[in-house]
Each structure stands twice: as C-alpha cells, then as structure tokens.
Symmetry: C2
Subunit: 156 residues, 2 copies
C-alpha cells in the first residue's frame, strides 16, 4: 500500500475529492495520486501554476500577496490552497510552492518549501527546509510531505 493509495482511501472514507495546486513540484503530487488504479473517484483536478500569472489567474492568488511575501511563502501557499478549493469540486486541497534549485531565489534558500492544506472550515500552512539536497530530491520529498499532510488532515 503506497502513501498515495492511503490518501485516496482516506478521501473516499470522508467522501471528499482532492485538488492540488502545485508550483515547484510541477504536477508530481497529482501525478502520484493518479498513479493509483481507480483514483478517478478521489482526484478532482490539479492546478500546476508554475508562473506567477498562473497563480493569479487560475487560483486567485493576490498580486499584493505575491509582492509582499514572494511566491515562496506560507501566505501564497495558503491562497493557492484556498483558491484550488474554491475553483474545484474538491473538499480538500493541498498547495506547495518552493525552491527546488539548483540555487536559491528571492533571497530564499534552495530546498525551502511552503505547504498549505485548505478545507471548507479553514486553511493552515507550514514551511519545511529540505536543504540543498538536489532538485529531484527536493521535489520527491515535497510530494511525500504533501501526501502525508493530506493523509493527516483527512484522518484528523
């Protein structure tokens, strides 16, 4: 049983569909969820908002928030997650925005990733510093952490 399969089982048990809003992972979270056979009853859609314009147009992230905090911030992650919930038929959404590297940006270090979970009753965000472990590894660790957050939220 993979983590993704556990997440889908928990979503089915709660009777909700899942949406994702992804920047640095570029679709790999929803890619992992849809690797599970029969996932179509638990996965509604994914927003891969690689550019800032996409974050604003697809998810309603505010220009003010991007300007004040930068794309890699808990504030933007929270707006991405709540936007994904609002613009989908899902009952829970996870969002990630981070710096996969190589190298930092926005004066922020490589390996920093901000996560958020949105549910109808609220949104919460957190930051993980994975460090300069390499682009592929940061992305893989981000997928796993996002799936674990979904699982905890769905079982909580």
């Amino acid at each position: 049983m993979t983590l993704a399969a556990d997440v889908l089982d928990a979503a089915r048990a709660r009777g909700v569909m899942i949406a994702t809003a992804e920047s640095c992972t570029g679709g790999l979270i929803v890619g992992a969820l849809t690797e599970v056979p029969g996932s179509s009853d638990g996965v509604d859609r994914g927003f891969v908002t690689y550019s800032n314009a996409a974050k604003q147009q697809m998810l309603g992230v505010r220009a003010d928030t991007l300007e004040a905090h930068g794309a890699v911030s808990e504030q933007v992650a929270a707006e991405m997650a709540s936007g994904a919930l609002r613009h989908s038929d899902a009952g829970i959404a996870v969002a990630v925005t981070g710096i996969a590297g190589p190298g930092g940006s926005e004066h922020k270090p490589e390996g920093r990733v901000c996560f958020a979970i949105a549910e109808p009753f609220g949104t919460r965000a957190e930051t993980v510093e994975f460090g300069a472990i390499g682009r592929r590894q940061v992305r893989a660790a981000t997928v796993e952490h996002a799936l674990q957050m979904l699982l905890d939220a769905l079982r909580g």
Copy 2:
C-alpha cells in the same frame, strides 16, 4: 540531454511558453518538463483535468463533445488543447486523454490515448494504441509521445 530539455530549448528558440492539459497522465507531462532546471522560462502552467467536470470548467470542453465522443476521443483532446491555449499565456499546448488501465472503459481498450497539439493557427489530434502494457507503462509512454509531439511541432 533529455527529451524534456530539448522541448524547452525548442520553446525558448521559438519564444513561446508551454501549457499542458492532462487527463490520464495526471500531471506527469508538466512534471517532466519542470524536472529540467530553469524550466520556469518555458513552462507557463498545467491543467490536470481528471474529472469531466474539470475538463469543462477549466478548459471549456463542451458537454456535447463529451457526450457524443466520450472523454477518450480526438475531439475532446483537441478541445482540451485549444482550451489550454485560450486559458493561458502559452503559445503552444499539448493535451492527452486516455485509458491507462487496468481494464478498458467507455467500451474502449486499455492503452488507447488521444493526443492533441494546439497552436494559435490550429489544432491537430492523433490516437495511439499502446495496448495493455500496464498503467505505469501507458502513462510513461504517453508522456514521452506528448513530449515528442511538442518537439516536432516546435521545430516544424
């Protein structure tokens, strides 16, 4: 040099951004493109439209088209690709919709995938029968074929 890196180089040479619209691959095409360091200058966004509602709401696929041809059809692939172009800042979009399995659906065989490429001057679609080679393998083969179509279109 990976195929994804070649696609990004070709997009840069043409001065266009890329969008994806994915059903059966669930984000793996945009995931492959964004694996390339520095891909943010070539990847605009991805629409992972796993449900039919998502295809209609995010991309403007018509209910009539879904009804008449089914989700796995060249007609739906073409509407997904042109919708991705229309709802993004990209200059080229690729769309895929298929049956990764296990098992067929809509009276269509496992391993059938419909692809489309949209550019401002037009859209073209094609179907590939990968056969019952397994879910993971169908998805991987679909990613590779979609990237090759993007490369051919960008260089053509």
